[in-house]
Amino acid sequence: MSNLLNFQQNIPPYKAGTKSMSLTIDGKIIATDKEGYIKSLEEWSEKVAEMIAIEEKIKLTSSHWEVVLLLRQFYQEFELSPTMRSLVKYIANNLGKDKGNSIYLLKLFPPNPAKIASKIAGLPRPKNCL
């Protein structure tokens, strides 16, 4: 049974036109909205992050993880999903200007770092993202 579930985990969760409204991880179903943001913050785990990253065609490296973990810290501190500007500033404050700039973040999380990185970090969709 557990083999079967592990196998399931490796299937890309959607094909064009059939985008799923949930993720299945270790047999547990995690609800998402239609854009793929998970609905309940508490259900986030590193596996969830990896799964969402696959959907976004991003291979998570340590550079991605440090941004994702900072985003979760940002949310805990301010109860907000960041916009691009505030994300850049927050990353610059915490990791230095080399990483706190939009080009660096765009390379890690194309095409929209604030949205994509928030999604991977399990935060709600940034409301003020215009």
Binding site: E77, F78, E79, L80, T83, S86
Partner: protein, 123 residues
């Protein structure tokens, strides 16, 4: 092409948090406006000063803590924050009751501030 002129916008908060959605809606408006590189100021007066208090515990009513969101303002380059001194005094509040860095201004400065704006949005 001429660069469009920057507008001076002031967001006025006059209501206590949590009882209505005004405080939250106003903050969302400030954060959204910050994306447009305008000259933003935020002023708390009347019951709006209650939004600035320390020790808010909205978890029990499943609301987000206004102070946590307000403390993110510097990350959005919103630096011009003001609170009306008289409004604080009328409610028996002191400077030490305020949870964030903010300019405490007297009534005449409030009037000046209001008269300098292109637009005032009241919440």
């Amino acid at each position: 092409m001429n660069k469009p002129k920057t507008k001076k916008l002031l967001f006025l908060f006059r209501h206590a948090p949590y009882g209505s959605a005004l405080a939250k809606e106003g903050i969302d408006a400030v954060l959204a406006a910050s994306a447009y590189d305008q000259d933003l100021s935020v002023l708390f007066m009347d019951d709006g000063v209650f939004q600035l208090l320390k020790h808010q515990k909205p978890d029990d009513i499943e609301e987000k803590n206004i102070i946590n969101i307000l403390s993110a303002f510097t990350l959005y380059d919103i630096q011009s924050l003001f609170v009306c001194q008289e409004s604080l005094a009328e409610r028996g509040l002191r400077n030490t009751d305020i949870a964030i860095g903010i300019n405490i201004v007297a009534h005449n400065t409030v009037s000046q501030l209001l008269s300098q704006q292109d637009h005032i949005l009241s919440f």
